[in-house]
Amino acid sequence: MTRPLPKPTPETRPFWDGCAQGELRYQQCADCGAVQLIPRALCERCHGSSLAWKVSARQGRLLSYTVVHRAPVPAFKADVPYVIAIVHMDEGFRLMTQVKDGARQALRVDQPVRIAFAAVGGAALPQAEVLP
């Protein structure tokens, strides 16, 4: 069984293309300035459609994290324990990632991290790396 990988749609393809090029992209509304990570056709705040793609500086903090011991599907069994985090990025959006070597480190809430990319089954997935 293979890991579930993102299947880009027309809405999300610029994000995943960015990951493949080492860029973490997010949408910002030209009308109200709101930022959003999960790409969509409109701004979730003002419903305007003037969305611009921006490139993140890839710095953020661990809003929360969990050490996963029970794999949801067999494809993740070899990886346990692994750490999933919700990262709050400096630009104001949030994303979910795994934390590199997370289960071997003492993590803490609000710890600074940077986002890099991990090659998984031909896809480039964002991954959090703990900053000292």
Binding site: W16, S64, T66, V68, H69, A71, P72, M96
Partner: protein, 384 residues
């Protein structure tokens, strides 16, 4: 204020591991049981609301069920809101009878999630609620999503694992008084702490069960309730709150829709939380109940676990909560999991809960949570 709707029938099947059971057979047993409990005939039912199934999934589950039972109601539809489904079905049934569209609405749920799916299968099916592109590639599961909530919540309000464990221990104590409960053997705080880690900080005994079972209610209009031979329970208030679906998109990891849903339900009922005699609140994980109890206003932030340790959620405590044992110890059978809470509230308000009866229970609060604290529905019920 009144919602002009009454629960006239209630029934739950055996729960736990039920070899040979099926989703539809559990639905049928629960449905006929609830109709009989109301003193009605199946032909009196003019509305049917179902939820969803993992073992017999279908685009039109309510139609599949009515075909299975051989009934032809005037109104028939399925509602899918995860763990909030049961309460939302009751709220929708109340609207159908109060508006005069139906006299007696059957709300019915059930699934043989344990024997029909296996534990691995159930865990995998549930993981599919994660966002396909922005959550599932990272190995998300329902427990991991709640683990993320737990870590942040514990950090912000100084909650310890021991305090959450006290919630699980009290649920098991409640379940020991229920002859049908899936898990009845006592557990200690040390047992919870030492149980195997699932998605830290949550361990196995912080998590709900996976069970077979079914449950149903009949909701009747004020006039039609007179047809029933049971003692009707009034739906005094109801409300919903919805903030997100995926936990990565939640506006907050500590504030959820239970605040809005309960505020609306209490306002409609004209009742304050302190007046509630017994609460039956969705407890998919220990953290779920802690967040809900504190957001709804039964306890201050960060204090639900300490209150549980002091016995305040127990029989005879300040707020007897999940007197059947909840999802953590009574049973969790998909949408029926939330319906067990509602059926238990009916038992408590009728005064027929036996060894687990809260003395003179007049007002009950019932709450369901779907997704990752995403969809919430609260009910205030009263003995009539």
């Amino acid at each position: 204020m009144s919602m002009n709707a009454f629960i006239t029938g209630a029934y739950d099947t055996a729960v736990g591991e039920l070899p040979g059971s099926s989703c539809m057979a559990l639905h049928a047993e629960a449905a006929l049981g609830a109709v009989a409990d109301a003193g009605l005939q199946p032909s009196d039912i003019d509305g049917v609301l179902c939820a969803y199934s993992f073992t017999e999934p279908h685009l039109m589950l309510a139609s599949v069920f009515c075909e299975y039972l051989g009934i032809h109601p005037g109104t028939c539809l399925a509602i899918q809101a995860g763990g909030a489904s049961a309460c939302i079905m009751v709220m929708q049934a109340a609207a159908l009878v109060a508006s005069g569209q139906c006299n007696h609405v059957l709300v019915v749920t059930g699934d043989n999630r344990l024997t029909g799916l296996s534990r691995d299968g159930a865990v995998a099916a549930l993981a599919e609620v994660g966002h396909p592109q922005f959550e599932r590639p990272f190995g998300i599961s329902v427990p991991a999503s709640y683990g993320l909530v737990a870590r942040r919540y514990m950090h912000e309000y100084g909650v310890s694992r021991e305090q959450l464990a006290a919630i699980a221990v009290e649920h098991r104590r409640h379940a020991a008084r229920h002859p049908k409960a899936h898990k009845r053997e006592p557990i200690t705080i040390a047992d919870v702490l030492a149980s195997k880690p699932i998605a830290e900080p949550l361990h196995l005994l912080d998590c709900c069960l996976i069970s077979d079972g079914g449950a149903a209610l009949v909701v009747s209009s004020r006039a039609a309730a007179r047809d029933a031979s049971s003692r009707p329970i009034e739906i005094l208030g109801a409300g919903q709150g919805h903030t997100h679906e995926h936990i990565v998109a939640a506006p907050s990891l500590v504030d959820f829709g239970c605040k809005a849903s309960s505020r609306t339900a209490f306002a409609r009922a004209g009742i304050r939380p302190a007046e509630i005699d017994v609460a039956e609140i969705y407890d998919s994980f220990t953290i779920t109940l802690a967040v809900e109890l504190e957001s709804i206003g039964f306890f201050e932030r960060g204090e639900a676990g300490q209150a549980a340790a002091r016995g305040e959620l127990g029989l005879g405590g300040r707020l007897p909560c999940n007197t059947h044992g909840g999802l953590m110890s009574y049973a969790h059978s998909g949408a029926a999991g939330g319906m067990f809470h509602a059926v238990e509230a009916v038992h408590q308000l009728r005064g027929d809960a036996g060894a687990r009866q809260v003395p003179d229970a007049r007002l009950a609060f019932v709450h369901g949570d779907g997704g990752i604290l995403s969809a919430h529905c609260s009910l205030v019920l009263g003995a009539h």
